[in-house]
Structures are given as structure tokens and as C-alpha cells.
């Protein structure tokens, strides 16, 4: 038996192709990218060793800090929104709709599978002002609130809310399913016992259900932050990072630095910062969760 299961030639046949492809396309480039942070240039112009210059530039770069701040703010807000709305939906599925929730669950999940670029194109038409009013502006016009008609995506302040709302809308059904799965795993007797103790409505949710749901909520939050920190498609398709740099997170700054300005060394430095940020957030939440005993 062991002879069959430890046959190295069979192991090579089974694992080899996947491992080889993965090593070439993912692993080696990770280390390569770390090396690139010490260079400047591009494949077309050639590379020049510059040592720590990219990192010195980074800590003096106001655009970088602005993008870091925007991305962090966006990620915190959108992740909180995704998980909170997911939680509310999950509670609604489990306590109000009960067995009849399957259809609602399925419909609310639909936006999750849609391509972000297409959704963003749709949203930009929703909020359009030229060449004609989109759905929102024409609705405002119809109820004589013309003073509110504006270029929603053309100004940083409103664009932020639209991008955030779109990304929350798109993902809330997903987190609702994750949290709902956690909810139905809570034994019926536990909730019944709490009910008989007099816990109802909000107090039942606050003191019984939510604490039991804490581990899966933390997992959802980590997963969500990991996604929102890497946001690219929705902002690229909605505002392209503009107006100016008003809606530019690290991912878009990275893209522009690398492919518009062909600065591969500095681009890699920005990518490394992004990777570190994702890592720190994940570790931080794990650490908090362990400390609070969840």
C-alpha cells in the first residue's frame, strides 16, 4: 500500500504540472518583484540599480499617502457596509423568512456573479448627467429637485459614496449567505432556551445570536477587507481614479505608475506596500479576535 501511495514517479505526474506552472507564474514573480524594488526602469528602457531610492521616494510621496489613505478609508467603510448589510440580511432570512427564504436568498445573491465592469457601466448610466440625465438625475428632475441634479461621478465627494454603495450592493448577498450558514448552525434549542428566558428581538440578537456568530463574522470581515483593499475593477470602470486623484487607491496608483509612466521599480514598491497592508490587516483582526476570545 505504502509502495503504491509513495511512488515518486506518480507523485511527480500528479503534482508536477500544477506545481511547475504555479511556481513559474506566481512564486518566482513574487521574489522577482521584491528584487525589482531596488531598480528603476522598464523592460523597454532597461533597468538600473538604485538601492533604497524607491523607498525614500515612497515616504516623501504625497500622492502615495493620499492613495493609501483613500484606499484604507474606502476598504474600512465598504467592508463594514458589506458585513453589516450581510448580517442584517442573514438575520432577516433566518428569523423572518425562515423556510421560505430560499428564493430571496437566491435573488439577493445575483449581483455577486455579475461582472464588475458591466455593473460599473450600468451605474455610470444611472448617475449620468451628459449627454442626457441618467435615472437618478431624471428622477430628481421629475420631482422638481433640480438643485440636486449634479455630476455625481465627476466630483470626488459624491463619487466616493457611489463607488462604495455599488460595491456594498454587489457583495452584500454573498456575506448574507456566509453569515446565514453560520446562523442556521446555531442549535434551535439554544435560541429556544434564550427565548424562554425572556430574550426577544434585539436582546436576543445582541446577547445570544451575535456572540455565537462572532467567529464567522470575523472571517467574513477578513475576507471582505482582503477584497476591498485590492479594489480595482469598480473604481477603474466608474471614475478611473478621478477627478484628479480624488478616488485613486493604491491599486490604481500602482497601475498608472507601472503602465502609464513605465516606472517598474517604483510600481513594485507600491505593490509591496499593498501586499503588506493586506497582511497587516489580516493579522490585526486575527489578533483582536483571539484577544477578545472570539
Amino acid at each position: 500500500m505504502n509502495k503504491v501511495l509513495s511512488d515518486w514517479r506518480a507523485i511527480a505526474v500528479f503534482v508536477g504540472p500544477a506545481l511547475l506552472l504555479y511556481t513559474c507564474i506566481v512564486l518566482i514573480p513574487i521574489f522577482w518583484s521584491l528584487g525589482l524594488t531596488a531598480y528603476e526602469g522598464s523592460p523597454i528602457t532597461g533597468f538600473r540599480l538604485v538601492g533604497a531610492e524607491n523607498f525614500i521616494r515612497l515616504i516623501h510621496d504625497a500622492t502615495f499617502f493620499k492613495a493609501l489613505w483613500f484606499g484604507t478609508r474606502y476598504a474600512l467603510f465598504v467592508s463594514a457596509g458589506q458585513v453589516i448589510f450581510g448580517l442584517l440580511l442573514a438575520l432577516m432570512y433566518a428569523f423572518y423568512l425562515k423556510k421560505t427564504s430560499a428564493l430571496v436568498r437566491t435573488l439577493v445573491f445575483l449581483p455577486v456573479v455579475l461582472p464588475t465592469v458591466a455593473v460599473a457601466q450600468m451605474v455610470s448610466k444611472l448617475f449620468a448627467i451628459v449627454p442626457q440625465y441618467g435615472l437618478i438625475n431624471s428622477a430628481l428632475h421629475a420631482v422638481h429637485l433640480d438643485s440636486l441634479v449634479q455630476a455625481w461621478l465627476g466630483q470626488g465627494s459624491t463619487a466616493f459614496w457611489i463607488i462604495a454603495a455599488m460595491d456594498i450592493w454587489k457583495a452584500m448577498g454573498f456575506y448574507a449567505i456566509l453569515l446565514y450558514t453560520g446562523l442556521v448552525e446555531i442549535p434551535e434549542e439554544t435560541i429556544e432556551a434564550a427565548r424562554l428566558d425572556g430574550a426577544q428581538g434585539w436582546s436576543l440578537a445582541r446577547f445570544v445570536v451575535l456572540p455565537l456568530l462572532a467567529p464567522i463574522t470575523v472571517a467574513s470581515l477578513i475576507f471582505s477587507l482582503n477584497g476591498t483593499l485590492k479594489v480595482f475593477d469598480s473604481i477603474m470602470a466608474l471614475t478611473g481614479g478621478g477627478p484628479g486623484n480624488a478616488t485613486t487607491p493604491l491599486t490604481l496608483l500602482f497601475y498608472r505608475t507601472s503602465f502609464t509612466y513605465s516606472e517598474y521599480g517604483y510600481g513594485s514598491t507600491l505593490a509591496l506596500t499593498l501586499a503588506l497592508q493586506c497582511l497587516i490587516v489580516t493579522l490585526l483582526i486575527f489578533w483582536r479576535a483571539r484577544k477578545s476570545g472570539a
Binding site: 500528479f14 504540472p17 513574487i30 441618467g134 497582511l279
Partner: protein, 300 residues
């Protein structure tokens, strides 16, 4: 705990139950706000998709003459024809299909083999190899894009489908491997060991026992990967700059600039064409899609 709750709690719960059943109309009224809320939630989730398809059938006059939320007066199917030809959606659509299908076949084939090798076979470094695959789930794709671009540039693979296919496959592998390894772990081990006792070779075990066992899981994980690949923007935007090689998402992105501003009918038709395959697959297989995506998140 159990005992005290039984002792105290009978009164309020029983009373609440009684009033609720005395009158059906009262129950209906009590539930009315929550029913309206549920309808509102479903409306918010689904209406934008309906709006896309409704608007994609409007003639160009209708966008300015009647409200944006009005139903289309005519069924302007030629919006789709124009999106398909003038908007180059035919090209983008075919490019997407030709990148996604081979990637799916590759990622599933390589993934199921690797999962089998990692989970069922016994070797010293299998844990280390699993850990190496785990790195791919956590690392942001941005960190590998520049080296990949350099590699593809040197190998003359930019603007080819091969670049897209190998990138999609490599980045899909970690999730596929973990998902399937989990399946092998829970279901397969004892049966496989029994088969080997009976003298089956490892390849017979793989094709006759392991593969049929994970067939359902294969479909689930392929669905999840389909959505990732079909909806991808970053990879296709980076590695295909020739307009003729664009996939549906990067093609659609270029739309805003050109005639997307003026020609709303064909633009909505193009959005509809990008969305349609995902909606169709979801309508047919939604339970599997939801299960697969949730499982991916819990593992990732």
C-alpha cells in the same frame, strides 16, 4: 440553565403565541412592514439587472423623450446587432470565450491531479507543497504583474491568448486545489486504501475511484472559476493592449470613451451581452454557485 428557563418562561411565550393565532388578519398586519422590507430588498438587488435589459431594447429617441425608468415602447433588437458589429462585441465575446474555456479545462485538470497527489499520496514534502499553494490565495495579484509582464514581453506572449490562459490557470489553481483536497480528505481515503489492497494501481484509483467521486465538486469549483475568469479586468487589461485581443470586460471598459457616451441603446446592449452569460449560468445552477463561492471564502 435549561431547568430555570423552563420554569420561568412558559407565560410570555405562550401568551404571544396565542394572540398571534387568534386572528389571521392581525398576523398579516403585523408582518406587513417586514414583507414590504423584503420586497424592497429584492427590488434593490434585482432591478438594476432588469433595467439593463429593458434599456438595451430602447430606441435612441426614447432615452431623451421618455423617463429612464419607463418600459421600452419598441423592441429595438438592432441595438444588439449594432453592439455586436459596430461596438466590436463579437470580437470581445469570442476572445473571452477562447480564453476562459481552455483556462477552465486546464485549471480543473491540473487542480484535481494536484489535489489527489497532495491529499491521497504520501510524501514528506506534501505539507510544504500545500503551504506553497496557500501563498497564492493571500498575495495580491499586483505584486506579480510587473515580472509577468516582463516575462511575457520577452517571450513575445503579450497580446496572445496564451498569456491570458496561463495567468488565469495559475491564479485559479490555489482555490481549486484546496477545495478538491478538502473533498478527498473527507470522502475518499478509506475507499482508496481498500482498492489498493485489492491490487489497483494508482492510476486506476485516480480514474476509476477518485475522479467519479469528486465529479460534483469539479462542477462547483469550475463554476466559481468561470465567474472569476469571465469577470476579470486586471489581467486582460494588462496583458492585452491590442484592441483586437481584448476580452469582454476590458473591451467594455474602452466603451465609455468612444461611443458609449452618445449611443446608449447599443451600450446597454453591450452591457447586457457581458452580463448575460453570468446571469444565465446563475439562473440554471444558482444553488451550486452559492455553495461553491461560500466554500471558497471559508477556506481562503
Amino acid at each position: 440553565m435549561q431547568r430555570t428557563s423552563q420554569a420561568q418562561g412558559t407565560n410570555p411565550a405562550a401568551a404571544g403565541h396565542l394572540t398571534a393565532t387568534t386572528s389571521h388578519s392581525l398576523q398579516f398586519l403585523q408582518r406587513l412592514p417586514i414583507t414590504l422590507l423584503v420586497l424592497l430588498v429584492v427590488f434593490i438587488a434585482v432591478y438594476p439587472v432588469v433595467w439593463i435589459f429593458m434599456s438595451s431594447l430602447k430606441s435612441s429617441v426614447e432615452f431623451s423623450s421618455s423617463p429612464m425608468w419607463a418600459l421600452p415602447h419598441t423592441l429595438a433588437w438592432d441595438n444588439y446587432a449594432r453592439a455586436w458589429t459596430e461596438g466590436h462585441m463579437s470580437k470581445y465575446f469570442v476572445n473571452s470565450v477562447l480564453a476562459v474555456i481552455p483556462s477552465l479545462v486546464l485549471v480543473i485538470t491540473l487542480g484535481v491531479m494536484a489535489a489527489f497527489g497532495l491529499e491521497i499520496m504520501r510524501w514528506k514534502l506534501s505539507n510544504l507543497a500545500s503551504l506553497v499553494f496557500l501563498v497564492g490565495i493571500m498575495v495580491p495579484i499586483q505584486i506579480v504583474i510587473l515580472p509577468l509582464f516582463t516575462m511575457y514581453f520577452k517571450a513575445h506572449l503579450l497580446d496572445t491568448r496564451i498569456a491570458l490562459i496561463i495567468t488565469y490557470t495559475a491564479f485559479g489553481l490555489p482555490l481549486v486545489v484546496f477545495f478538491l483536497a478538502g473533498y478527498f480528505k473527507t470522502f475518499a481515503r478509506e475507499i482508496i486504501e481498500a482498492a489498493i489492497m485489492d491490487g489497483a494501481t494508482i492510476y486506476q484509483v485516480f480514474f476509476k475511484i477518485a475522479l467519479p467521486m469528486v465529479m460534483n465538486a469539479l462542477v462547483t469549483v469550475a463554476l466559481v472559476q468561470f465567474f472569476f475568469m469571465w469577470n476579470d479586468l486586471l489581467i486582460s487589461l494588462t496583458f492585452t493592449q491590442d484592441p483586437d485581443m481584448r476580452t469582454i470586460q476590458s473591451g467594455l471598459l474602452a466603451f465609455t470613451g468612444q461611443y458609449g457616451q452618445r449611443e446608449w441603446g447599443p451600450t446597454f446592449a453591450s452591457i447586457g451581452l457581458a452580463v448575460a452569460p453570468t446571469v444565465l449560468v446563475y439562473l440554471l445552477l444558482n444553488q451550486m454557485v452559492m455553495k461553491g463561492m461560500a466554500a471558497g471564502a471559508v477556506k481562503g
